[in-house]
């Protein structure tokens, strides 16, 4: 079951009631996220950044869904591939760079966690760990508390297809279904748990069918289409706010790079597969749409790229000069001080 794909023809009115400025803002974010990701890999190859888990190929799902959420009001539980979610919600490139370089000013963790472990109290981005799916029951608990107090905050929790195999995903969704909680489960489905393909992870084509077993709707959308993801998430968000309970959104995406900077995906993906995959780049797709719709032209395009590069350069320079944690930082913030 695919959600309606937004109009992509020239001359039609803006889809989903959005203004061209909003779409250009999304595009800027997608370019910025791509530029940050490229910089992270460059710094990794230079030996300055120890670890990168890339969001490349997932940007449509991440920007499209996170754009629905209200920063600082709705609760966001990303997983390690969600740089695009964190940036869309409001994490700055500078904050991301500080985390890549594990500096003490890193808002996510004071340089304690590997990059990709987001957390920002003021943006309600909830701190995450590395074992997959542990954040799914957290989302249910957060949403339960909002509902108990009669607040209208919506909680969105992100995870990959690998995480759908874990018990915590089942337990968290089951709890949310029982209590009709205002929560959105968003699976970024790239069909690989590091190297293990979909057919060795599950016996279903679309994992969203599992939602039926928890008593709430599940939808499968093309996660490379930022507009389609926005639309599906907006619908789920409205449902949550109307008190109708959770929604499971499965976004089919491509993981365009290896699992991480320590992985070599040539061991398990053929050159043909990789070639096919590159054709489903969400950034290229959205750019094509904007150009065709007459929202974006050549000049704007180069201005956007230059702006993103400038922002990343500044963030990079700042973060490289920023201090490391002091030795005494090793022992702080274990218990309330």
């Amino acid at each position: 079951m695919a959600a309606k794909t937004a109009q992509t023809k020239v001359g039609v009115s803006m889809p989903l009631g959005l203004k061209p400025e909003a779409l250009l803002d999304w595009y800027y974010k997608m370019v910025l996220i791509r530029t940050l990701d490229e910089r992270a890999w460059a710094l990794n190859r230079m030996g300055k950044v120890g670890f990168v888990a890339s969001c490349r190929g997932h940007e449509g799902a991440q920007v499209g869904s996170a754009s629905v959420m209200r920063p600082g009001v709705d609760f966001i539980l990303p997983y390690y591939r969600d740089m695009g979610v964190a940036i869309t919600i409001g994490l700055t490139p500078k904050e991301h760079m500080l985390s890549l370089l594990a500096k003490v000013e890193d808002v996510n963790s004071r340089g304690r966690q590997m990059p990709g472990h987001w957390g920002d109290q003021s943006l309600r981005i909830i701190s995450g760990s590395s074992p997959v799916a542990t954040q799914v029951p957290h989302a249910a608990g957060i949403a339960y508390a909002s509902k108990l107090r009669g607040e209208d905050a919506v909680t969105i929790v992100y995870f990959g297809d690998g995480a759908t195999s874990r018990g915590d995903t089942h337990e968290g969704m089951n709890f949310a279904g029982i209590h009709k909680l205002p929560v959105i489960f968003l699976c970024e489905f790239n069909g690989l748990a590091i190297s293990v393909p979909q057919e060795k992870q599950m016996a279903v084509q679309n994992v969203a069918v599992r939602a039926q077993g928890y008593g709430f709707p599940g939808v499968t959308v093309d996660g490379t289409d930022v507009l389609a993801v926005y639309e599906a998430t907006k619908e789920a968000w409205d449902r949550a706010r109307r008190g109708e309970g959770p929604t499971f959104i499965e976004c089919k995406v491509q993981r365009m790079l290896p699992h991480s900077s320590d992985d070599d995906d040539r061991r398990y993906r053929s050159p043909e597969e990789m070639e096919e995959m590159r054709k489903r780049d969400p950034l290229e797709r959205f750019r094509g749409y904007l150009r065709e719709a007459g929202i974006l032209d050549e000049a704007m395009e180069s201005e956007i790229r230059a702006r993103a590069k400038r922002e990343v350069d500044e963030a990079n320079d700042y973060a490289e000069r920023a201090p490391d944690p002091a030795p005494e930082d090793l022992l702080t913030h274990l218990y309330a001080e």
Partner: protein
């Protein structure tokens, strides 16, 4: 002061804290309609309603995982794991999540929550309703472990655990629920986490013990006093953080230390207490720091005779005391 059972102390603490602070909620298997399989949570559902007293699905990882989420959004959950033996499927949520939240976020996030669980044996619970799990969690910085065993301590420390800003694993020895009685003040009180209590002063020998073994040790100490050996019994009450000062102070006075615990001997929490004494009171010791614990088999068998063989008892504790006193 009224004399109460341990189980009443737990129940009163929960009632009082839920009444005092509407952020406190209780969640677990059978805690609502049934009032808990031990009747610990009796009356809570009627008093505070379904929103705050949650009969959860039979799924330990989400009992703790959902509680973690609640604690991140302004509630103070008291999650019950029906038997400590069932806690293992929640280990990831306790160790990777609740315990590490504050440290991993550089102090930005925290999990003020309690996981309560009945542990320990001597109730014919067999392999899976008798285990002592404290050592599994004691090697987890970020978590506190509180394990009191008198009604007074249980009530005061459960209230303190609920008010604590960090996650607490609260261990209740199920054999003591209806076995141990003691005076509990009518008026409000809270005890500090991390303070041991000298349950019996003495000058010849120190016993450090907690749980059911604390009560057996006190009985053994009475027996030894008739033989002219004056035993001091120290109850740590809190395992993490451990009140080393009180324990070491006692050992420095008596020069002899026996640690009695119900868990398996090897790498049990008593081994940590023994190591601390050996390292930090070495100059004062007048005999080997001794451990008395259960054998290294998975847990106590269901068969009554084997169960009795598994658990240290008053006779064996007395014997260990005599041997150590002889140095």
């Amino acid at each position: 002061m009224a004399v109460k059972m341990v189980i009443e102390a737990v129940r009163e603490a929960l009632h009082e804290e839920m009444k005092r602070d509407d952020r406190v909620i209780v969640m677990g298997e059978d805690v609502g309609r049934d009032g808990g399989v031990f009747r610990v949570t009796e009356g809570l559902l009627r008093e505070y309603g379904e929103g705050r007293v949650i009969d959860s699905p039979l799924a330990e990882s989400s009992i703790v995982g959902v509680a973690v989420g609640m604690s991140l959004n302004g509630l103070i959950p008291v999650a019950e794991i029906q038997f400590a033996d069932f806690i293992y499927s929640a280990v990831d949520q306790i160790i990777s999540e609740a315990a590490k939240m504050r440290y991993r976020s550089g102090g930005a996030f925290s999990c003020p929550m309690v996981v309560r669980t009945p542990y320990g044996g001597g109730v014919r619970g067999g392999l899976y309703h008798s285990q002592s799990v404290e050592a599994v969690f004691a090697n987890t910085p970020g978590l506190k472990i509180v394990a009191p065993t008198t009604p007074y301590d249980v009530k005061g420390l459960l209230k303190a655990s609920i008010r604590d800003p960090d996650p607490v694993l609260f261990l209740e020895h199920k054999r003591t629920y209806r076995l141990i009685r003691g005076e509990v003040p009518e008026e409000e009180y809270v005890l500090p986490i991390g303070k041991a209590d000298i349950k019996r002063p003495g000058k010849d020998l120190t016993v450090v013990s907690y749980g059911l073994m604390l009560h057996f040790s006190l009985e053994a100490a009475e027996r030894l006093s008739k033989e002219g050996v004056d035993v001091e019994v120290v109850d740590p009450r809190t395992l993490v953080p451990l009140d080393k000062e009180t324990i070491l102070g006692s050992v420095k006075k008596t020069g002899k230390a026996l640690v009695v615990y119900e868990a398996n001997r090897t790498a049990g929490f008593g081994a940590e207490i023994a190591a601390t004494i050996a390292e930090e009171a070495f100059d004062y010791l007048d005999g080997p720091v001794t451990r008395l614990a259960s054998p290294d088999v998975p847990a106590m068998p269901y068969n009554a005779k084997l169960e009795a063989l598994f658990l240290p008892n008053v006779d064996r504790i007395s014997e260990a005391m005599r041997k150590l006193a002889g140095y």
